[in-house]
């Protein structure tokens, strides 16, 4: 078995979860190789350059931020498990974020990395609900959200037992859903708990140089631990016999073997690679997809009056509708991110102004378009997305924004599929998660978004948990 092309563990995908799993396994002496179809690591959480300018994609903010000294939270666990010194990420905290609802954001709940700010905002604007809100928070704090064995329950149903005002209910769900829910309309309560803690009880931060800092740290740890990596080297097929994977067929046609396989590419996507004919219906793919616009500005956003908000979750309608739109785009709700508004310290600012907006989109209205129509639709949608979002920020005239804009770009559901391989541009993967990471093959395990820990910290913890649970904790 111990030939040159045999690995203890083959990992499919060099995103956050695959890299984290790889670091653990390589650190403890496993012969590991990560196979990545693209030339870049990070999956959707990555960056690219156009005309010498670096664009971040995916990550708005690293969630789960806690200050040094706070222990037992996902960020601390992650740093310990990967032997990362928190100074290596050099995280800078958000200034403030908001949930803004109503046609022009009439009801707005401010929050920061200090939970008391959010609690006071709820008490001030929803005085009748504050007791219920506090009881909900207490229930969230004691819920065992990382258990690998839980029965799914509806988060909407649980939250409604505490919160009676539909507006507040929707305002709590909007950020939580936008930052991680793969399910339309509702989510599993455990997932809600993970995200509520990550966003509100913990908080937002980012390295000055964005997501590339996190990727650089992960890659360096993986390299130091002796892990191998093969880029532009996708896995086309998983061969199996009697319920076990026997070999991986690479895009080049080359075959490699591994004792264990960890797949970070998603549950339905992994099932496709396995391709076993079973009587069961194929796993359902996710339907939730996004577009995101990005504008690079020649001034700091503060110069336009946009200097306060780091992230704004908005919705203009009576109810918040987190679902696959009937058309290409749904601009009624979305997320604004202004990365300049992290607190980078008194003497430091990002060189360009950046204004990003995310909205829900429908994959099948983008995927089949011919290149020309695709580009035309992008231009049309770009304008709709930004116009909608700007209602929730201090007014800036079209002329002033256009004067300040150096360049723009946009990702669509098509981009998501290109970089993640997710069927249907599903940003957060499939609606049904697999906590134990099991697949039809006994030596193939899932990690990443379809295992069900959310956010980038969640993704990394997912890789760690699955490497521990399926491989490192087993008798060698």
């Amino acid at each position: 078995m111990n030939t040159r092309n045999h690995y203890d563990v083959a990992i499919i995908g060099a995103g956050m979860s695959g890299l984290a799993a790889g670091i653990r396994l390589a650190h403890f002496g496993k012969k590991v190789c990560i196979f990545e179809r693209h030339n870049a690591t990070g999956g959707l959480n990555s960056f690219y350059s156009i005309g010498g300018r670096k664009f971040d994609v995916g990550l708005h903010a690293l969630t789960n931020f806690v200050r040094p000294g706070v222990k037992g939270t996902p960020l601390t666990k992650l740093l310990r498990q990967l032997r990362i010194d928190r100074a290596e990420f050099a995280l800078c905290e958000q200034k403030q974020s908001r949930v803004a609802f109503g046609p022009n954001g009439e009801t707005s709940l401010r929050f920061t990395n200090d939970f008391a700010v959010f609690e006071n905002e709820v008490a001030r604007q929803f005085p009748k609900e504050i007791d219920g809100f506090r009881a909900l928070v207490a229930a969230i704090k004691t819920y065992d959200d990382v258990s690998l064995e839980v029965a799914p329950i509806s988060a909407r149903a649980v939250v409604r037992t505490y919160i009676k005002d539909a507006l507040l209910e929707d305002m709590l769900f909007c950020p939580v859903m936008y930052y991680g829910s793969a399910q339309e309309h509702d989510m599993e309560f455990g997932q809600f708990v993970i995200m509520f803690k990550a966003l509100f009880l913990e908080g937002f931060a980012r390295p000055f140089d964005g997501v590339r800092v996190i990727l650089r740290v992960l890659l360096e740890k993986y390299r130091q631990a002796g892990g191998e990596r093969r880029m532009k080297c996708g896995v086309r097929k998983i061969l199996s016999r009697e319920g076990r994977a026997t070999a991986l067929v690479l895009d080049s046609g080359e075959e490699i073997t591994a004792t264990h396989v960890i797949s970070s590419i998603g549950a339905p996507e992994t099932e496709r690679l396995i391709g076993v004919a079973t009587d069961a219906a194929p796993l359902e793919a996710g339907r939730l997809s996004f577009v995101e616009t990005i504008s690079i500005l020649k001034c700091q956003p503060a110069a336009l009056g946009w200097g306060s908000d780091t992230i704004v979750f908005f919705n203009d309608s009576t109810r918040f509708d987190y679902a696959c739109p009937g058309e290409a785009l749904d601009v009624r709700s979305g997320v604004i991110c202004i990365p300049n508004n992290f607190d980078f310290g008194p003497d430091r600012q990002l060189s360009d102004g950046i204004f990003r907006v995310t909205c829900l989109a429908r994959y099948d209205q983008w995927a089949p378009l011919a290149e020309e129509s695709y580009q035309a639709q992008k231009i049309r949608c770009f304008d709709n997305v930004q116009r909608s979002a700007r209602r929730f920020l201090p007014t800036v005239s079209d002329a002033a924004l256009s004067e300040a804009t150096i360049t723009t770009d946009m990702f669509t559901p098509r981009t998501i599929t290109k970089f993640t391989g997710h069927i249907g541009g599903a940003i957060y993967g499939a609606p049904v998660k697999h906590r134990q990471g099991r697949t039809p093959l006994e030596n193939v395990y899932l990690c990443g978004t379809d295992q069900g820990f959310l956010g980038i910290i969640g993704a990394m913890l997912s890789g760690i948990s699955m490497a521990n649970f399926h491989i490192l904790q087993k008798k060698s």
């Binding site: 002496g29 040094p68 740093l79 310990r80 521990n468 904790q473």
Partner: protein, 87 residues
């Protein structure tokens, strides 16, 4: 290997696993969990680092012996001595 050296081995491992913990005042007779914030993931790492660095195997049934520095020393020192004798 003396018992004190053995305790130092364990402390060195904890220092690498949990650099955010203050280890200057760890009481050897008190359970590690009661004076440091270590969870089950951290204890698993102590076991795995023992295997990686010192080729010491701790079967799951014996994890209880890693509760305090004193119990670690009682349990691990004979293993270190046996290993040295073999090597």
């Amino acid at each position: 290997m003396t018992k004190d050296e053995c305790k130092q081995v364990v402390l060195d491992i904890i220092a690498d696993i949990a650099p955010d913990e203050d280890l200057s005042n760890v009481k050897p007779e008190v359970r590690l969990r009661d004076q440091l914030q270590l969870d089950s993931m951290d204890f698993l790492d102590i076991v795995m680092e023992l295997r990686k660095r010192h080729s010491i195997e701790v079967p799951e049934a014996d994890y209880q012996h890693l509760a305090s520095l004193d119990s670690c020393a009682e349990y691990l020192t004979p293993k270190f001595i046996a290993l040295a004798a073999k090597g």
